[in-house]
Symmetry: D2
Subunit: 342 residues, 4 copies
């Protein structure tokens, strides 16, 4: 089987590098185009990017020539977008119009009515919006988005709890510095400190969660009816968002019910190359999950949970630039392929 | 006026050192006795203790001879206890029986029915329990305790919100490493990490808050009727516990109501030497309070709040070994003096 | 006595803020002008600057209006310069030409032949260059510089060792992140890491040390004859540069000789308000000095030494933005005042 | 080929866990015995040990029953020792006497005259001391040791420079916290700090380096004639010792000569499973090597160098618990097997 040609938009940044790491040896996709800002376009990728990951930059990638972020210059069937919000807002539709499938990690279009916001294990049926989108807009391609990193960890764990009748959710996050990009958090800001504020993060968590857990009625998404209240904090951790979650549920499940729901959660996607097993790992130790110890489980795609207590309260944690960003888009793309949309 | 003679029990540890720092130049108290374990007793304090604070060890303290933790060996009117829980449980009553006032930071006796658990700005009237205690036990002295560090920060901010009819409280804490004592948290445990568990901390917060905000009916404390649900985490911060709090209230106050309540909060204790002004500092910046920037406000006794949002949600933060430990006991002792109990 | 009018050039940055902190209650100087880039000029200082120090921004400073970095707009007798190098190179001479005394922390002019590079305790006689400078350039004012932060700590400790015949110096530094400015070191760069490179730092240490310890022959400085070899590293410390130094000396002094030389070092400047006592503090503990514990000694102006071992090897440490930057310029200004140059 | 039976002494600690990680899937060795203190003996390993590594504990290891550190209870051909020094001093000879090959990471016997101290790439010929040792002591087995972690990184890089006539070495280390064991460095000690002292470390580096680079004359080791002067520091890094090294050499090689010597270094041991390729990696970037980015090169066995400057000065860095501890012993064992000593 010929591989699907894949491009990366915003290829030189933090998430762009994760895309390359995940796609360079992917069984279904083949990296054919790396697009970045005009400053980088025309250079070899190895010169244009300051490679920040521990893994070495793949040699063949290093030699690729960066192209501009322009549908006419990009050679691909699908593009993965790590573009900044402003740019994503105008550029992603251009690519979709030009016939590309766009799997976007940007926040720009997530809440747009006819654009699906998807986590494969949570709401694959929302991909039905693609038809609505193409109808509405007369596009040959389409845009599919994945949620914000903080939203993803929590929502994966909420999915198996939906059956208990979720009524209200409280979330306090302790988020890693990599979530803000390489230069996003100054060391003088975070050393020996907590920053109890992340720009627009709480709004994203609150709106995205309700869309993700909402119902697709054939033409649009009806938001889930419960309230979400988030308080987001930055802590001195490299990778891995840790989240303290309270879920109030109509059925008053016991902690054992919750644990069983997590353990039994199987979205049936084990045929996707990036899908981890299990999707949710239940930690039995009293002081886990911890970001440094558990963030790389399942290649960074597993969401770990622990400390399930009456309330219901628990802790969930996952790798914010893999499960929470690049890996989220890649998994969406794999699902699109499986569903014959690629 | 002659100063009141003060002793410190458990004088060599983390909190013991803070007691010494706060008492060595105190206008009302005079350090007359430093008591510690048999390993230290008989030595000069300067040799017995590894001084860990940035401030220099007071010279006259360095030369004092450490005595055993024994009412017969301690020369003082009041003793400040930084003893470990096990020891506190048996030793503090011995001191009270022998006629000492005991201002304790230990958790051992906090929840005992006839022992007051007090924050001067929150529930000074609970000191009425001293008479009950002395009646019950036929003690000449008495024991007064202060709450756990995490409880204190939150409860100081809850006091001015009581008028809105508190119904339920959620708390996620991000606690400093100094709360666990000098050797309490290994660097390998916490570097690039969050530990989402602190032994017995959540139970303490939940029970202590309800006692503190309860009513003294002349013979006992009737717990406050609302539920408290806590999720406690350790982060890589030296001093200063940061707490994300949700308070559900019957009156549905606006964020502006809450802010005004904080700004107007004045417990009328400005004649106590350690009382900060203001008690609660409202930070207007969108990303404050932060532990490294705000923990030393009011000599470490101010509780900072910020990010008041609908929910009602807000952040509070205070210095855990000053406001949350040694300073809490010292402030209690100052209140006792003001009320003629010393 | 009327206070001397003082301005700060580059008032909004890291070092600019330290200047303000040190000058706002200075007994000899009065802050009369705060100059910064065009982006800030015209605004209230409190709005133009993001105040990053733990101490609160002085209220009267907060209300001052920022002026442009222009000799015509600055009202002062002396200006303290925290300008970036490029700008300092052209702007500082303009101020000197216009009659201002300029006490500069910038590196731009440090190695210029007729511009004194001074640490008051090391080479006050180099201020004789001011006359040469004014002669050469027909300036009414003058420029005096202080060295790089890393140079200062080491050179203060070398001064009392000069009598043993210094022949060669090796220096490995472990430098604080504040040395690079607030946004200078990304948290993703330094968390769980050491960066063994600081741009131009080693060259500065090597050339500046030789000028500082050189001889002023009435018309120019003759560099000290020994070699200096530096290896500079960035570590995860907020403030305080720690330096491992080896000094090879002709006289082969013992470790006891070295310790005595440090203890007896008295430059006779105790009448300067910012001069610490002692200038060099010898730590007896086997594991000191340490930046977190000792950087604030003497208000941040003391240089601590310890671990004097055969070789001769020792550790020195000092606060890089106080003793190593703002405080260095202020101390130079105090010396200028004492010598009648202001 | 049957695998060689391998035991681990001190199996529950930090280095013991690294031994297990490296041996559990080793092509030549088979883990047959895990020995630890009486507190652990008799328990399943999974219960006795707090597994601290990111990799999961191998399942078959988790179920092994821990035995006492006693030659009669250990079933193995070779034992890897991660024992504390005191214990190693008496126990390792007992195992050697009882016929075991002992590959020890403990410091107890390293400097004993008839016990080889070996890095395979540096001084494999020193294994000739095994015969001397067995003659002297009438042992059926023998003890082979590897150096201290700090010594190893530097000495691997000194080996290819021996040809230039090394005369003097200066070393300033910035060492990771994992070198002190899990509870070795309190977080309150090292956060925002440098500790410029590590107990006995400087002495170890100075004596071990001279033994390693000394000559085996058939009956004993004649120390290398040059002096080594070390200054050892602890910094806030999880794994990876960074070392600033100066090497004075008779031949005055250029920086290019040094680089070539590193690049050409090939000890011819590529048939050993744990031997990395290359042994020394020369980093071209101006700010490398860095511990977080480079410590896992070659599975943690590569020593990285960079910043080669006149002096000759350079930086070397390697993983202290792999290349510097467990991996060092395993590589020695592989060399012993290759030489027919197992």
């Amino acid at each position: 089987m010929a591989k699907i040609k894949a491009g990366v938009l915003g290829a030189t940044g933090n998430v762009g590098q994760r895309f390359i790491e995940m796609l360079s040896e992917h069984p279904w996709f083949e990296l054919t185009s790396l697009a970045a800002s005009d400053r980088s376009a025309g250079k070899k990728y190895g010169e244009a990017a300051s490679w920040r990951l521990e893994s070495k930059i793949p040699e063949e990638v290093s030699d690729m020539t960066v192209v501009p972020v322009d549908p006419k210059k990009v050679d691909a069937d699908i593009v993965f977008s790590a573009l900044p919000t402003d740019l994503a807002k105008t550029v992603e539709p251009e690519f979709a119009k030009a016939g590309f499938a766009v799997a976007s990690n940007a926040s720009a279009l997530r809440m747009v009515k006819d654009i699906p916001l998807v986590i494969p294990e949570v709401n694959p049926e929302h991909l039905g919006l693609i038809d609505v989108q193409q109808d509405n807009r007369k596009w040959d391609g389409y845009v599919v988005t994945n949620p914000n990193c903080t939203t993803i960890m929590m929502t994966v764990t909420l999915k198996p709890l939906m059956k208990f009748g979720i009524e209200k959710i409280y979330l306090a996050s302790m988020q890693a510095i990599s979530g803000a990009g390489y230069d996003g958090v100054a060391s003088m800001a975070i050393l020996d400190n907590v920053i109890p504020y992340i720009d627009k993060e709480e709004e994203k968590v609150e709106t995205e969660t309700k869309k993700l857990l909402g119902e697709f009625n054939g033409s649009e998404i009806v938001d889930a009816p419960f309230a979400v209240s988030a308080s987001c904090n930055r802590v001195m951790v490299m990778d891995g968002h840790t989240e303290a979650v309270w879920v109030e549920m109509a059925d008053n499940p016991s902690t054992e019910d919750i644990k069983q729901a997590f353990l039994e959660f199987d979205p049936g996607l084990s045929d996707l190359p990036t899908e981890p097993a299990p999707v949710i790992e239940v930690k039995e130790e009293k002081d886990r999950p911890q970001p440094r110890m558990d963030r790389n489980l399942g290649g960074g795609m597993t969401v770990s949970v622990g400390r399930i207590r009456p309330g219901i309260r628990y802790i969930c944690m996952g790798h914010n630039t893999i499960r929470g960003a690049a890996g989220a888009s890649v998994l969406n793309a794999e699902l699109l392929k499986k569903m014959g949309k690629l």
